[in-house]
């Protein structure tokens, strides 16, 4: 299929891609993981893995997408060879499975924005009960539908009139809101204690290998590296567009926003919490939502004596969270849509199919938190495999040839050195294997029935779901190759 649409400038490409990378993980997961892993002790390995995982994989994704001008399935057959087309299929399945429940999460953020804007959220006396009532009812289903409909309309309008136009407004607005909240948070009395904890490393904690693996995991999950999403947006890069500089800008931009959100949350919690601040930040709560949907609303009530002003800050926070989720959801829907477009289905039919399936397959997650946690576990770990597959595709192509011809080819501002070959050939596979062993190995101790595939978070459910998908994809590999 002939390439027709392109991002109209470097900046719109960067903004849209930053929208992929910045999601709810930057805001709620990052702070929780920093608190659980000793504050400053976590930040040092987190910066190191930004360079060893996120930057090289974002460069790789940009290059594969720009070179193939196809979604992950076609891109894999072109880069790794026809026998490995199924690997692109695995990336599509992982990101689509995440899309089904991420739309539910986007809906939660929208509901909490409306609740705080109306003043209802901060009028509650028990935020845990408020969350439980909301999540046990049918409202999450309704907001899941709204989220999918909004994104369907945006993606239907195409790259320039849809995705570019919307992200050009939402991403700067998200940054502005986060910056205003940051200023308010760091000027609260007592906020400095939070900043101090955030940046104070503890040598003993730093020697703990789990802190390093958590730092690597955070980079794998929240930068958008290895998801296939950046690869999809790269299809629409202009021919003379740079890869290395844009990729580095996005990786550093994403982690800059995580830092901004982290300092904001630590300052707020330390300034306003009467109980143990660290235990509040590090508690995950139901569906890992404790900090965001239960503890923060309680703290927003203490910001000032004015209910209206507190509601304004709470609604600004949830609006930022909604924007972060929405811009990531757009890319997840675009990936699935683009895959169908590569199979010669029109954009309008593709988006109709994707949104109907996204809604229907998101229903179990909207109605049952355990199902959502299961999907988050299975496909979250799947992202590590996706990252390894991307490195494998480049190794199959020939890492040095790929670096010279594709990355350092037409339009490159920054030429990348041979270090890239070493990272792609050895470090990314090593990091991926390490993470897989760690996460899957840890899951043995969480559940005595570790092989039971119908449990929420264990080894068995991962192997069962991945197994079905991988076997099916290998069986239809030839078909996928011909169609793409």
């Amino acid at each position: 299929m002939k390439q027709q649409e392109f991002f109209s400038s470097r900046w719109t490409l960067i903004i849209a891609t930053l929208g992929i990378a910045v999601g709810t993980g930057n805001i709620w997961r990052f702070s929780r993981i920093v608190a659980q892993n000793g504050g400053g002790s976590f930040l040092i390995p987190w910066v190191i893995f930004l360079l060893l995982w996120s930057v090289p994989l974002i460069i790789a994704e940009f290059a594969i997408g720009k070179n193939s001008r196809l979604g992950p399935i076609g891109a894999f057959s072109k880069t790794a060879g026809k026998n490995f087309t199924w690997m692109g299929g695995f990336i599509v399945v992982v990101s689509s499975a995440i899309m089904f429940y991420y739309s539910v999460v986007t809906g939660w953020c929208l509901y909490y924005f409306f609740s705080s804007a109306s003043g209802n959220l901060l009028s509650q006396s028990n935020h845990l009960e408020f969350w439980n009532q909301f999540s046990a009812g049918y409202l999450p289903l309704f907001y899941h539908l709204i989220a999918i409909l909004i994104v369907a309309v945006i993606v239907f309008r195409g790259i320039v009139k849809g995705i570019e136009k919307v992200t050009k407004i939402l991403v700067p607005l998200l940054l502005l809101i986060l910056f205003l909240l940051f200023i308010r948070a760091v000027t609260l009395p007592g906020a400095f204690e939070g900043i101090k904890y955030f940046f104070t490393p503890d040598l003993d904690t730093m020697m703990d290998y789990k802190v390093w693996l958590n730092a690597l995991t955070q980079n794998a999950w929240d930068t958008g590296a290895g998801w296939g999403l950046i690869m999809t947006y790269a299809i629409y890069m202009r021919k003379n567009e740079d890869i290395t500089l844009n990729a580095s800008l996005i990786a550093f931009g994403n982690n800059s926003i995580s830092l901004l959100a982290g300092i904001t949350i630590f300052s707020t919690v330390f300034a306003l919490s009467s109980a143990d601040a660290i235990s509040q930040i590090s508690q995950s709560g139901p569906a890992n939502t404790g900090l965001t949907f239960i503890y923060l609303p309680a703290l927003f009530k203490k910001l000032s004596s004015s209910h209206i002003l507190n509601s304004v800050f709470a609604s600004a926070f949830f609006l930022a969270l909604f924007f972060a989720a929405l811009t990531s959801l757009i890319s997840l829907v675009e990936l699935a849509t683009r895959t169908l477009i590569d199979f010669n289905v029109s954009r309008s039919k593709s988006i109709l199919l994707v949104s109907v399936f996204a809604f229907l397959l998101g229903v179990p997650s909207a109605l049952n938190n355990s199902f959502l946690i299961n999907q988050d576990w299975v496909w979250g770990v799947g992202l590590i495999v996706s990252g390894a597959f991307i490195a494998f595709a480049i190794i199959k192509y020939d890492a040095d040839k790929f670096r010279q011809e594709v990355i350092n080819g037409c339009g490159s501002d920054f030429k990348i050195g041979r270090w890239f070959n070493l990272i792609i050939k050895y470090l990314i596979p090593f990091q991926a294997i390490l993470l897989l062993f760690w996460w899957l190995g840890s899951s043995f101790s969480w559940d005595p029935q570790w092989l039971n595939p119908f449990r929420t978070e264990n080894f068995g459910t991962v192997i069962f779901q991945w197994g079905i998908v991988i076997i099916l994809l290998i069986v239809i590999n030839k078909y996928l190759y011909k169609k793409s």
Partner: protein
């Protein structure tokens, strides 16, 4: 705030925010170079 915390703060903020600003400046530089032919 201990010296160790200050070093961590400078290291983390310096690399992450410093890197982000550096790449934005570079992108502006190359864009203006391209538009000036």
């Amino acid at each position: 705030m201990s010296l160790f915390s200050i070093i961590t703060l400078v290291f983390v903020i310096g690399i992450v925010w410093g890197g982000f600003i550096f790449f934005i400046r570079k992108a502006f530089y190359y864009e203006s170079k391209k538009s000036n032919g």
